[in-house]
Amino acid sequence: MDSARTPLIETVNLKKLFKLNGGALLHAVDGINMKVYSGETIGVVGESGCGKSTLGRTILRLIEPTSGQILYNGVDITKLKSGKMRELRKDLQIIFQDPYSSIDPRKSVVEVIAEYMFIHNTFPSKSAIYNRAAELMDLVGLARRYANSYPHELDGGRRQRIGIARALSLNPKFIVCDEPVSALDVSIQAQILNLLMDLADELGLTYMFVTHDLSVVKHISNKIMVMYLGKCVEMAASDELFTNPLHPYTKALLSAIPEPDISKRDEEFVLIKGEISSPINVKPGCRFAARCDYVSEKCTGRDIELKEVAKEHFVACTLCNQEVGK
């Protein structure tokens, strides 16, 4: 992760505020700075309502950001006209959570996979596009005999493979995976995770892996960002985050996973009180303060900045003031 390299994707103070009826503002993404280097997988973890899915979609400009910058290879794409943006869609792709609603029920499998290639006319002829679609089916482990089937005839795991083949059809560089396995059964989940990791190796893909499942994110990511109410509260390399979590929220999140390990049966969860508070008209200050056991007067009144407390380990918490190199 040398800093001289240009990140593949970088966001600078990216914000998405939704205006609600009556003028209230919903802070979905509230000033996110992140850098993703080519070949890396960054995991974005958080509970429902923390803005992680919105972040993924905003980076792809499927949702227009309110302010801030999104740099792709160092170039700001937030101001691009729709024609230029359409070209860029080849490089930036997404895999959806729900293998049912993300596929048009009226299109056959091969039509779904070929759709993007027809939009961009990547090949001169129809048959060339269909041939490529067949190769993609091989690539994601979907038997060719399903080519003319309709999605509703297939199970969730196969449908998710269709979604992956579609995302790969334009040879993207960067893929946002929005909870791609959380709708699947455990055994199928593992198949899809393996597939995604193989593809990353073979095709040199860069993922942003959005999920609520910490064990999945640890498994697949190099770097993890923990989000809470639109803010990044902690960001570090995967192993570092799991062995040395610093933010109270990260700690609670890690401790709340029921592990399939009988020796930990009697370990108590570190419970955090209450539930995620409302993201509407948020006041400045640490977003987690209301549920935090270590809250002090320093936590409210102003937003807490991310600080680099160890190499490549960033935390936004008043408890961690030690900044490296300062």
């Binding site: 455990v186 055994s187 198949q191 401790s255 029921p258 399939p260 049966r265």
Partner: protein, 334 residues
């Protein structure tokens, strides 16, 4: 021994029949829950977990669901022989159920107090209004909700809070058996932890027996005493949690489930998923249902249904262990 059982299911077979096909949902399962214990029923979508629960409650869809054979003994009563009226007295009062989705289990136009009160009055018609109110408040504070919120409507509660209300409703009549069908699957992990701890504490306090349906082995490890692993309508392995988590022998399917979970502790690059898919329940294989996906599949597995192998508290449905001395145990590593 017999009297220690709160629930004893014997050779239950359930099918769903439509004009087009017959789905064999449950193919002869035996299930026992000891008084005061919690049994975890583990399996993937379509394994027959929910059908089992609905059979106990006698709430199978009337037109399609059919119990072909079997007995369900609940505390000396044979549930399948009860009249609908008698069954209604058991339901809610002595056996309560919590469903996965708290949003759909609550009536959006009734206050929380009204809904809990209704559950109380249904089985205690002679209580005065004050007494009912008293019980509602106790129930709410039991699940960690301020009794002052009793006059609010479900939409004023968050998902986790709603599930607490649902649990309060289920526990308010102090049932002998609580069936929880994936009660925390719809919740966030920190909220799940809160609710799980609460369920565990309440269970221990009231002494309710529990059937915990889940797909998450982590939850089983945390709160169950016994486990049954279901696959394609059969129980392929059952025993105490220690039999299952630390025992020497494991059914290949159970092993596959463990291997499919990304571990938090080890850094392995690839998971070892179970290959293939669950068989079509309207067209089950002739031999062992898991054979087509099994790494240890032998000729006999394809042709013959396996018989149950019983070793103390641990039962396995697998040809590998038929002759215990000769069978190779599936190794942990591969």
């Amino acid at each position: 021994m017999k009297n220690d059982l709160i629930l004893d299911i014997k050779n239950l077979r359930v099918i769903y029949q439509t004009d087009l096909e017959t789905v064999e949902a449950i193919n002869g399962i035996d299930l026992k829950i000891n008084k005061g214990k919690t049994l975890g029923l583990v399996g993937e979508t379509g394994a027959g977990k929910t059908t089992t629960a609905l059979s106990i409650m006698r709430l199978l869809p009337e037109k399609t669901g059919k119990i072909l054979s079997g007995e369900i003994h609940f505390d000396r009563q044979e549930l399948l022989k009860l009249s609908p009226l008698e069954m209604r007295k058991v339901r809610g009062n002595r056996i309560a159920m919590v469903f996965q989705d708290p949003m759909t289990s609550l009536n959006p136009v009734m206050t929380v107090r009204e809904q809990i009160a209704e559950a109380i009055k249904l089985h205690n018609a002679n209580l005065s209004n004050d007494e009912v109110d008293q019980r509602v408040e106790t129930a709410l504070s039991m699940v960690g909700i301020l009794p002052s919120r009793k006059n609010e409507y479900p939409h004023q509660f968050s998902g986790g809070m709603k599930q607490r209300v649902v649990i309060a409703m289920a526990l308010v009549c102090e049932p002998d058996l609580l069936i929880a069908d994936e009660p925390t699957t719809a919740l966030d992990v920190t909220i799940q932890a809160q609710v799980l701890m609460m369920i565990r504490e309440l269970r221990d306090r009231i002494g309710t027996s529990m059937l915990m349906i889940t797909h998450d082995l982590g939850i089983v490890a945390k709160i169950c005493d016994d486990v049954a692993v279901m696959y394609a309508g059969q129980i392929v392995e059952s025993g105490t949690v220690f039999d299952l988590f630390t025992g020497e022998k494991r059914h290949p399917y159970t092993q596959g489930l463990f291997d499919s979970i990304p571990s938090l502790n080890t850094r392995s690059n690839r998971l070892k998923p179970i290959q293939g898919l669950m068989p079509d329940p309207s067209n089950l294989p002739k031999g062992c249902c898991f054979a087509p996906r099994c790494q240890h599949c032998m000729d006999i597995c394809i042709n013959e249904r396996p018989k149950q192998v019983i070793e103390g508290t641990h039962t396995l449905l697998c040809h590998l262990f038929a002759d215990s001395s000769a069978a190779p145990a599936p190794q942990e590593g591969e």
